[in-house]
Symmetry: C2
Subunit: 395 residues, 2 copies
């Protein structure tokens, strides 16, 4: 896998990003990913939040067809909690993209255009800028641009680096992807947007299965601050341009690898992160319970602040996991930091308070002693940087 290519690594895709003036800073803020075909199969997963932004409502509707020609994405505004007017803005944006692509000679309907937005919740988008930007970006794309990286940059908000990856399968088909944000079904503000492309030949049902399989094991297990955005969206488009039809298992494996890598990139660039933390629960009754227990630990503010302070305070891990609604043997819990057992049979070990956690990567392993299931949640520490960044975002 390489991180220098993204959505334009697979054959049959063009993309770019421009500054449409949505962001006051003048940074790029509008991205377009275009599928040249010959296939237009697509799948998507969306936030589970009951409060859903207009572009999520729109794109979920569009995806019921299992088909996409293009994805338009903007940063600088989430278009969430904007009422019927906000939904009309999303619809008008899709219509404008379809019209511009049709003008360029690719007959496209608005129903073939997904829309993603990210930024502050609650404000209407400056539609004059968005619509002028749509004309400009389609024009640039028609010029032959294949700018996956420009697209990846244009969707950044609090991200400090663009996130993209490409996996070239030995059988001559490719999966590429870009993402922004700090977690799927986990970050509240840091909406996760992700577009993945492939030139493999695959039916919408195969894409859907591969995407759900991968998302459940990657984005769903990245938990930076425990909440979930109104805008989280992951889309998968296939052009079929490679003329290769991988098996479902091959497709599943490739999607899992690409999503996992984008996850690692988002974790490393999460807001205020000074430590990358992996919480692995073993000995759980079921994999679901392992996920729940690992998530409870990963979300615990006192565990996260201790890790920020490089403090091997394993008692906080026990206090956290003890509140998880899962089966555990309270007298037989084992905790290890970076492989060193700090607590065995729920009692501290000699030297536990001296474990060195000063590095940037911390592995927390917790055995519940009731079964054989395991799962890992990726998270970060809770730092001054996180508080600073999030106490002054909208103002």
């Amino acid at each position: 896998m390489v991180r220098t290519q993204g959505v334009t690594a697979p054959a049959g895709f063009r993309a770019t990003g421009i500054a449409a003036g949505i962001k006051a800073s003048g940074a790029t803020d509008l991205a377009l990913v275009f599928n040249e075909g010959p296939d237009y199969a697509a799948a998507g997963v969306f936030t589970r939040n009951k409060v859903q932004a207009a572009p999520v409502l729109w794109s979920q509707q569009v995806l019921t067809t299992g088909r996409l020609r293009a994805v338009i994405l903007n940063s600088g505004g989430a278009n969430a909690c904007t009422g019927p007017g906000g939904f009309q803005d999303t619809h008008a944006t899709a219509e404008a993209v379809a019209a511009a692509l049709s003008d360029w000679g690719t007959e496209t309907g608005a129903i073939e255009v997904a829309v993603c937005s990210t930024g502050l919740i609650g404000d209407r988008l400056p539609m004059n800028k968005v619509l002028a930007g749509v004309s400009e970006i389609v024009h640039e794309l028609a010029g032959g641009l294949t700018g996956g990286e420009e697209a990846a940059r244009a969707i950044m908000t609090t991200d400090t680096v663009p996130k993209q990856v490409a996996l070239h399968h030995p059988d001559k088909w490719t999966v590429g992807g870009m993402a922004k944000g700090a977690g799927m079904l986990a970050p509240s503000l840091a909406t996760m947007l992700c577009v993945i492309t492939t030139d493999a030949v695959a039916a919408p049902e195969a894409l859907d299965r591969a995407l759900r399989h991968a998302a459940a094991r990657t984005f769903d297990r990245l938990d930076v601050d425990g909440a979930s955005s109104t805008n989280d969206t992951v889309l998968l488009l296939s052009s079929g341009a490679s003329e290769i039809t991988p098996t479902q298992d091959e497709l599943d494996a490739a999607l899992l690898a690409v999503c996992d890598d984008l996850c690692a990139q988002m974790q490393a660039d999460a807001e205020g992160v000074t430590k990358r933390v992996a919480v692995t629960v073993t000995g759980a009754a079921t994999e679901d319970e392992a996920v729940v227990a690992a998530r409870v630990i990963a979300r615990d503010s006192l565990v996260k602040t201790a890790l920020f302070g490089s403090d091997p305070n394993w008692g906080r891990v026990l206090a956290a996991v003890g509140m998880a609604p899962v089966a555990l043997n309270a007298d037989r819990i084992t905790v290890a930091f970076n492989g060193f057992p700090v607590c065995v049979d729920s009692v501290g070990t000699p030297g536990a308070r001296e474990v060195d956690l000063s590095g940037e990567d911390i592995v927390v392993t917790v055995d519940l002693a009731v079964g054989a299931a395991t799962a890992t949640i990726r998270t970060t520490d809770l730092s001054h940087g996180y508080v600073e960044e999030n106490s002054a975002y909208s103002s």
Copy 2:
């Protein structure tokens, strides 16, 4: 109600606190509350954490009798995750208290002595100091001391002020209480310990009902950082010394008022607090759902950091409540900050971004538009002080 008296306000109780040398700082760290009778009825509520400290295991057992003569409490160590040895330490402490009280002429069994501990999880207590301290504190108490405030001070850990309150009922009976910590069934590190005394005549069942009723509406609705300690304990003792038997409703009301006031004191002194926040959910389908929704908002790191920054970022409130597992009308949510509606029908109002949240008290009101039930959770902001204090606790 007055805050200058505590557990010794009701007739029939003595208490004090001493420095037994458990804390390295030399601050007071051992407290004793003694019931002189004639009644010895008692009730208790404990942490719901599956990982329970030795003193919790002990005191739960003791409380099955519905009877207590004394409560011994130490700060400087939680005696949690200390294995069978830790339980023996708790047992030995109760035995020592019983023996010392018996020597003084009050025949007492260990089964009549509750034990509470607070401090770092995972270390054994220095039992030579604890046992010497027990002798000393019983001796001091025998001298006639009624030092409710000394007891309240001796159980402090990260608390900056002792917390106590007394309610004198017009019918000549009294309820007094002391507490330490930052929340019941909510703080992970900041264990909540609370002892409430009354000279009312009341059977253990009446005390139990009044205590559970009050705790569910007060300590259970204080949520500073979303976790729950291994040591949380609230005990209620009655001496019957007033010879007055209040009705259950009178007792319930008095307990609720005392617990509510101790709650407010803990909220105001929570770790790193710069804002006292009340999250009220209205329009919920049931009171339980109102509690769940308010708790989800109160625990959201992005809501809490925004409030630290005095930022009226109502979109984060909507994003948070949208993840609550409760019924809500996603198009009809109303949010108000300090009474000013910032979001109506899930859309921002003019002036919403300019609401002044610079004061120390913030009231967040969220209407779910599906029913008539309401509930309030007390919480705090998420500040640099919180991160600072909790990233360097055990080291």
